[in-house]
């Protein structure tokens, strides 16, 4: 085995990096380039940072920014916490677990548009949930048409759809924790709660970091439920930035503005992810002792 590490590096990295360069990085470059242009009457005109200047002067953009940040501040911790709880349930060894595990996997295969169609029926003023709440004397609530509820309904739907998927990653992470460590802690008299906080969670950090980063990315870019259910309303309460970008680009044909919004989103994402790396990536499990 005398292959030089350079050849080895090229062999292992080339397929992935080539694919990413051609099918991701190059289109991303073009998308960024597009954000420096505008189209007026069919003519492409270079405007430099003009699209960004327009955005920052636009009160609608900042309102949408507030909605986006608030949405993400709630949905990401919620989804990761619930996915973790789900993962801990999934690995329980109890009678009948095979069936429950099956049921836990259901939302993974339901595509988001279908999930949205179904949940709309559940959340309608005369729908399923209000019918059930009415039976115990509550409601009816306007889950999708009141500015106080709509955003949280969207969060609920995305969470129902998303947490099974993230659970799979966390279950995988739990398997990488040596059972002996937990066993040793148990013998030393640690309660289940202490074992979770002091043993499982610290060892799960790398997986948690991955799930958090991937989940935040997806939620920052999520707009399908908004598009299908509320159109950004009522009163702009669900108008997340990505929906604003989608509308600009594909409904209004204003690709320059759309790409400028997307670039802003990605920059924010990068900052958030960088902070997470700082906070979480000093993984203690690396020594594996």
């Amino acid at each position: 085995m005398n292959r030089s590490p350079v050849a080895l590096l090229v062999l292992t990295l080339a397929p992935a990096l080539l694919g990413l360069a051609i099918f991701r990085a190059y289109p991303i470059g073009l998308a960024f380039y597009e954000s420096l242009y505008t189209t007026i009457g069919g003519e492409r005109i270079f405007v430099g940072l003009g699209n960004y200047a327009d955005l920052f002067a636009d009160s609608g953009f900042w309102k949408s920014m507030r909605v986006t940040l608030w949405f993400n501040l709630i949905i990401n911790p919620l989804q990761v916490a619930l996915a973790l709880a789900l993962a801990l349930m999934f690995v329980q060894k109890l009678p009948g677990m095979a069936l429950f595990r099956l049921l836990f996997l259901i939302p993974i295969g339901v595509s988001l548009p279908v999930a949205v169609i179904i949940w709309r029926i559940v959340l309608l003023p005369e729908g399923f949930l209000n019918g059930a709440l009415g039976a115990i004397g509550l409601g009816p609530y306007r889950f999708l048409t009141s500015p106080d509820f709509a955003l949280y309904s969207i969060i609920g739907i995305a969470t129902w759809k998303g947490i099974s998927y993230w659970m799979i990653f966390l279950v995988g992470g739990l398997q990488n924790i040596p059972p002996e460590i937990n066993e040793a802690a148990r013998l030393e008299g640690a309660s289940p709660w202490q074992r979770l906080w002091l043993v499982t969670l610290p060892l799960l950090k790398p997986t948690l970091l991955f799930v958090l980063v991937a989940d935040i990315t997806i939620n920052f870019l999520l707009f399908a439920p908004v598009f299908m259910l509320t159109g950004g309303g009522p009163r702009g309460s669900t108008n997340v930035l990505m929906y604003e970008a989608y509308k600009s680009g594909f409904v209004f044909g204003d690709m320059g503005r759309a790409m400028a919004i997307v670039v802003c989103l990605v920059v924010m994402l990068l900052i958030i992810v960088a902070i997470q790396f700082r906070l979480l990536s000093s993984a203690p499990a690396r020594e594996g002792k």
Partner: protein, 439 residues
């Protein structure tokens, strides 16, 4: 974004079956019945032009605009003709996606087609798109539900009724229900607990959409935007629209007779299930409703008591793309499909949507086959399309106007005050119009 000839080569390889044809035209359109009809028109065309092969590509309705816009924007030479919805003609033309027809075609179109349809296909003085058909909206009512609520149903077309051309004129001119009557009847049906114990009183098929609701303001003489298309100020938030929007608001917030949000096709579903007493919807619903067990009738589109009759109109057009390598051949096919007797006959017979040629409209008026119900609905629609139809405004910022309108009317239904919602919509439109016209 530039396109290399490779794509055309790849397509050519994929189309070896068409080796005999010298020219291949691709029409991009929506999936469904329209596609089948276009295929029939294409067959008729190819029977006469052996050297041309017409291919139909389709996209699902929900994604049609997004995906076709992407292909047009990337100057996709593989698309020669694009099925164009009436309101996007102006923006396609302004963005340089489509080519204008020459003067000969334009004057032929003016001679043969309904004027409002030609106007919608025209931008900046040039005819960019040829109309394939139009659309009409009517009032569907459940006779049994209205009678049970003590309401005399409107005069209209119903089972076993025979309607001569003169009857249609009388019905449309003198017997049209008012929106005030509709609201009263709806209240009688649903009490104030619509959708719970009792059926809902009334709904529009396309919730909050500009196409559907434009007649509300138009009936009171209200325009959506100024004639130079630069502003909506004092139009969309003027007196007429404020009054119209207040009537809309009362449906939900005061009288509680109409469901607050309706998905696509749900109004017809609820009507067919007996859960909705009346709805204003497209004539495309007639077959479905006639197939249900509901005892129903069809009346002309309502108007305001103090206003004039106004009805939605406009449907699909056909345009030649700028990127087409065979623009002349494509224009010839468009001419065949939209203007020739043969083409328009095939289209109408297979799709059965309201035509735009005066010839076919006259035929519908004269042909006794349209005396009986429900074919008589087509005769009513034909009358409306020539007398009460109000085309959507032509503006480059139509998409923004439509979006602002939908947002405003959805918000109003959800309880936002009328003035606030309309002012917000006016701001949104004015900003967009300014951005798109800053030459």
């Amino acid at each position: 974004m530039t396109r290399l000839p490779l794509l055309t080569t790849a397509l050519a390889i994929g189309l070896t079956a068409t080796a005999h044809a010298e020219t291949t035209l691709t029409v991009l359109m929506i999936e469904g019945l329209d596609k089948g009809s276009m295929e029939a028109v294409a067959d008729a065309y190819m029977a006469k032009h052996a050297d041309v092969k017409v291919e139909i590509q389709s996209l699902p309705w929900n994604q049609f605009f997004q995906v076709s816009e992407m292909r047009l924007k990337s100057k996709d030479a593989a698309v020669d003709l694009i099925y164009t919805d009436a309101p996007v003609v102006a923006s396609y033309a302004a963005n340089g996606y489509i080519l204008p027809f020459d003067d000969a075609v334009a004057s032929e179109a003016k001679g043969k087609l309904v004027a409002s349809s030609v106007a919608t296909g025209t931008y900046d003085g040039k005819l960019y798109s040829l109309p394939m058909n139009s659309s009409a909206q009517v009032l569907f009512y459940n006779i049994d539900l209205l009678k049970a609520a003590g309401v005399t149903p409107p005069n209209g077309l119903a089972k076993d009724s025979v309607t001569k051309p003169t009857d249609i004129v009388n019905l449309a001119e003198d017997d049209r229900w008012t929106f005030e009557q509709v609201a009263e009847a709806a209240k009688a049906v649903s009490g104030d607990e619509g959708g719970k114990g009792k059926p809902w009183g009334f709904a529009f098929e396309q919730f909050g959409e500009l196409y559907q609701l434009q007649p509300l303001g138009a009936s009171l003489g209200g325009e959506l935007i100024s004639s130079d298309a630069m502003t909506a100020e004092s139009h969309l938030n003027g007196d007429a629209w404020t009054k119209a929007a207040t009537w809309w608001s009362d449906l939900f917030n005061k009288d509680n007779v109409s469901p607050r949000s309706l998905g696509f096709g749900e109004a017809a579903q609820m009507f067919n299930n007996g859960q909705l007493a009346m709805f204003v919807g497209g004539t495309w619903n007639v077959a479905g409703v006639a197939g249900s067990s509901i005892n129903f009738g069809i009346a002309p589109h309502p108007k305001f008591a103090e206003g004039k009759a106004a009805t939605p109109t406009g449907s699909w057009y056909l345009s030649v793309t700028k990127a087409s390598p065979d623009a002349a051949a494509a224009a010839d096919f468009a001419k065949f499909a939209a203007l020739s007797d043969k083409g328009t006959d095939v289209w109408f017979k297979t799709l059965n949507q309201l035509p735009v040629t005066n010839r076919l409209l006259d035929e519908i008026n004269a042909d006794p086959a349209y005396d009986a119900f429900p074919a008589s609905v087509m005769r009513l629609s034909a009358w409306e399309s020539r007398n009460t139809a109000v085309p959507r405004p032509v503006t480059v910022a139509f998409s923004q106007l439509q979006d602002a309108f939908r947002t405003a009317f959805t918000d109003i239904a959800n309880g936002v005050p009328v003035e606030e919602a309309l002012d917000t919509a006016v701001d949104a439109y004015d900003q967009a119009a300014k951005r798109l016209n800053r030459k």
